[in-house]
């Protein structure tokens, strides 16, 4: 095993473990904090894949904005952020079955692909990942349309939020 594989295994275990804690802990704030750990683990996976930009954006957006928002929302809704009801739904076995089925299906797909057992070619030295990403997002031959549509959607959501919250005199 190479050092990278060891690091990946540790990060994956921590990520999965904290994801498990998110859904099993009874304290909502703890669940939010475990979610932060999970999202951080995903950021480390991005970093291991040489996607530094995505890793940093993951931390900025998910931990810096969304997780903080979750924590605020939990703190503002209830005095005692503890849940005492049952933690499983009576149809839990259907969910488990679906999860196992989709896992097996995805594994079969990946294993059937000839590239899955080959090591990825290393990036050429001096490869400017951020520059390439920026050009792909703004080039008409690549992804400028989806990028702009997503931006307009977010802007619409922003305007909508302001409209809902606006206090007319």
């Amino acid at each position: 095993m190479t050092a990278e594989q060891i690091v990946f295994l540790i990060v994956a275990l921590v990520t999965l473990g904290s994801a498990f804690m998110v859904v099993t802990t009874r304290n909502l704030i703890h669940a939010a904090l475990w979610l932060v750990a999970t999202l951080f683990g995903v950021a480390v996976v991005y970093a291991l894949l040489n996607a530094g930009f995505l890793a940093v954006v993951q931390v900025v957006v998910y931990i810096g904005a969304i997780a903080i928002l979750f924590i605020f929302a939990v703190m503002l809704t209830r005095k005692d952020a503890r849940d005492s009801g049952p933690q499983t739904h009576k149809n839990w076995w259907v969910g488990a079955l679906l999860a196992v089925a989709s896992y097996l299906g995805l594994s079969a797909l990946v294993l059937g692909w000839s590239g899955s057992s080959k090591a990825a070619a290393g990036l050429p030295s001096g490869f400017d990942a951020v520059g390439q990403l920026g050009e792909a997002l703004t080039s008409p031959n690549a992804y400028v349309l989806p990028f702009e549509v997503a931006s307009v959607l977010l802007l619409a959501a922003l305007v909508g939020a302001v409209y809902v919250a606006f206090n007319r005199k």
Partner: protein, 397 residues
């Protein structure tokens, strides 16, 4: 041999030779050397942090016409060590009903969010830990971890003053992240790089002359991010005591305090890197990397001094004023400035330096003037609504 020109690489090569000479695996030796480098950087920072306590106390004393620490050692230099011993031997307690694990993790995260910033600080052309190509976003990401530590501290203390203080502080930090991010993009546009070393290398003319308004907005947002006066809303002696860190004592409080001081110094450093040429000073950085480090630390100290100067001369701003100032003034100005700078930069590209610099400078001044005019008109209209048009007209004559 080449130690004076490239100290880090020479030291690493020498250590590599020693470790592999002991029969160590090359990969393991590399990991160990990187670890030693991190240890060295953090140790130096923590030692500096001890003296920052002394500097802060001396400077605030001068601003308030006092002497400051002057009994223990020459100029009171030993005072911070006495303080540390005091912090260490204090009772280490956990408040009743507190969330033990979260309560204890919060000060560590707070300190960590500052220390990880130094991973990307270029101290000299060759003395830097990592030249991350998304350095500026990394700065914001580290700030996100700092925000998290504050809300964890406030919540886990099981104290309503701590929680309210944390809410206020986090509201400030989250809101001021927006203009900060917008102004961080301006050096990126000017230098064509998000890596800090690239930004420093591109500053043949300091960016403060090209984008003075951006430098000012960054400083304001940085002070808000630090939670220092005039944005120290988590503090309020008569209502909240000291905010999120009320329930912390001993070295746990010390972590928050030391973290705040080092954070202020670090932001002074980032201000210098982004707008004042970082380690560059009339070619001194070419002479020796050690001189470059000295220039960088000196500039960071000046930035830190300005942050202290503002802290000890400004009054605290009320929270609604502060949030309105951010969302209704600073954020729009930052975004307009970003667009204007991008446009002017494209229009003036290829012109002689004096024309380029003066054009950029004038475009900044124009944005500042327009923003002030709009703010003046709006506030005048608001006042007319409250006091009636006559009173306002009289006040203006």
């Amino acid at each position: 041999m080449n130690f004076w020109n490239d100290p880090l690489k020479t030291a690493a090569d020498w250590l590599m030779g020693v470790f592999t000479g002991w029969g160590m695996n090359e990969v393991a030796a590399q990991v160990l050397i990187a670890f030693l480098g991190v240890l060295l950087l953090i140790t130096l920072l923590m030692v500096l942090d001890i003296f920052l306590v002394w500097i802060e106390r001396k400077v605030v004393a001068r601003f308030q016409d006092r002497l400051g620490p002057n009994r223990v050692g020459p100029f009171g230099l030993i005072q911070p060590f006495a303080d540390i011993v005091k912090l260490l031997i204090k009772e280490d307690f956990t408040p009743g009903g507190a969330d033990k694990v979260v309560y204890n993790i919060a000060p560590m995260l707070s300190m960590m969010s500052v220390l990880i910033l130094w991973a990307i600080v270029p101290l000299a052309p060759v003395i830097l830990s990592v030249d991350l190509n998304v350095g500026l976003l990394y700065l914001i990401a580290a700030g996100a971890i700092g925000t998290l530590s504050i809300i964890m501290a406030g919540w886990a203390s099981n104290n309503k003053f701590a929680l309210i203080g944390a809410f206020r502080q986090v509201a400030v930090m989250v809101s001021f992240e927006v203009p900060m991010l917008a102004t961080l993009l301006i050096p990126t546009i000017l230098s064509g790089s998000m890596g800090l070393n690239g930004i420093v290398q591109a500053q043949n003319t300091w960016f403060v002359f090209i984008a003075p308004l951006a430098a000012l907005i960054f400083l304001i947002a940085a002070i808000a991010e630090l939670g220092r006066a005039p944005f120290d809303l988590s503090e309020g002696e008569s209502e909240l005591v000291s905010g999120y860190n009320i329930e912390y004592a001993g070295m746990k409080f010390g972590m928050f305090y030391a973290g705040e001081l080092l954070h202020a110094f670090t932001f002074g450093g980032f201000w210098a890197i982004l707008f004042f040429g970082g380690y560059r000073f009339f070619g001194l950085e070419q002479v020796s990397p050690f001189l470059a480090v000295a220039v960088m630390v000196f500039k960071a100290m000046i930035g830190y001094w300005i942050i202290m100067w503002i802290k000890y001369t400004m009054m605290r701003i009320r929270i609604d004023h502060m949030l309105a100032f951010n969302w209704k003034f600073l954020t729009p100005v930052a975004f307009v400035l970003l667009m204007v700078v991008a446009l002017a930069n494209a229009l003036l590209a290829g012109t002689p330096t004096w024309l380029y610099v003066s054009g950029m400078f004038l475009s900044n001044v124009l944005v500042a003037w327009a923003a002030m005019e709009v703010a003046r008109t709006v506030s005048r209209r608001e006042r007319e609504k409250v006091e009636g048009p006559k009173a306002v007209a009289e006040a203006h004559h």
